[in-house]
Symmetry: none
Subunit: 131 residues, 4 copies
DNA sequence: GTGGTCTAGACCACA
DNA sequence: GTGGTCTAGACCACA
């Protein structure tokens, strides 16, 4: 079962953080079609948040076609967002962890690594466009 | 000179996006102490944004000790956020670009790569804590 | 400027009624791209409804790509839903009004006419499928 | 025998959709006094719905004086809602189907036709009021 | 018990 | 002033 966390200082609205976390779990294959999300009440018990905010996040997910709310039963994953196979993803992930080790050794903090990653994604995108 | 971009649909407040972009540029060494930020007027000309919003972002940056407003002259970078040397960063960045190439080949989209990266950072952080 | 009305006894949620009314106005060409919707506060003054409910309707419309909320300015129509030209629509509409006259003369009430219309749409759809 | 259908995304409560469909069938003369409605069990077999929901709809219909539940036998239509004779209705319906053909040819979708119909009904109502 | 809608009201971001 | 987010809490529909 997915566990949510809210960073109040990120500037990102709470409902949006929930949506992003579900999407990320779908992209990582941690959530599969048929899986149940925690009920609104369970989320409220787990993190300090208003039921309406959770509800809004779930509504947004349903709007995206990712989940389905079934009254009296709960909210269920409708479709996957993982386009990479489990094995390949494990390999890629391992390579990233090792890269992070090297970046850390070079003195980089989390923000700095994220900055490099974002820059690299943009750079790679430009290469593709140019080619 | 740094170029700003605003994503209206990201949910992140505009002033916060500006702050984040300056911080990212500092982390990547694209902005160095002494460099000048575009004036409020220049930013307004470049992107559709209210001068007040730019002002607010610059105030925030000054509050963070990252920049300094010099009356009549403009806003200047005060200190760096890049803890990795230029050469090492170039190497790390190159490795990331090549990783992205492999991830793309495996079918991953940008969101999916970002998800893997975030997960890897969290995983690496846990390893450090455990060790 | 579009005027909203809420039928509390219809069983249709209020926010949904607002959405439907905007869509209908778009389909009839009564609202055009660039037109402004009443502000949330204006709607609240016009009909008895909670600002949040109006807001939800407007959010839904934005989600559908039909409108865009501009902070400090208002909510504006983004695209049209009218695929029939004004002149042709006027002709078709006139024919319907005259049909309604005949149906009324035959004793039909509004619900009954609506029932006939729905049935006719379904029937026509089946003919298309069969053909 | 009437066949029910539920549109989960319409926002209209399921029990209300059942009630509306029976009323429509009564208005179209498809259900006549004396006709039997499907039993709760039959409805549950036909569509995915909770028996309680069907019960509630049937209770509502009885409350409206439209049907009568006879213990051990089933639910039967009590009175009609069709005020137009069968022959006249057939004529009116045929005219509508032909109108729909022309509207389709002009490029109108189902929603757009429904919008025109609703507008025409309102327009005709105003004419009556004015006269 | 679970999701869905709505009201009331506060506070923030932006123009 | 206008839209956007969030909390608090009530009530309904459905399983």
């Amino acid at each position: 079962m997915i566990r949510f966390r809210i960073d109040k200082h990120s500037g990102v609205p709470a409902y949006r953080q929930l949506v992003d976390q579900v999407r990320e779990a779908l992209q990582l294959g941690l959530l599969q079609p048929g899986d149940q999300l925690p009920t609104v009440r369970e989320v409220v018990e787990q993190i300090t948040i208003n039921p309406n905010t959770v509800h809004r996040a779930y509504r947004e997910l349903e709007h995206l076609g990712l989940t389905e709310g079934r009254t009296g039963q709960g909210t269920f994953v409708q479709r996957s967002l993982a386009s990479v196979g489990t094995r390949q993803r494990a390999t890629l992930q391992r390579q990233l962890v090792s890269w992070i080790g090297r970046a850390r050794a070079a003195g980089a903090g989390d923000d700095e690594m994220q900055a490099m990653f974002s820059a690299a994604v943009r750079e790679a995108a430009e290469e593709v466009e140019t080619a």
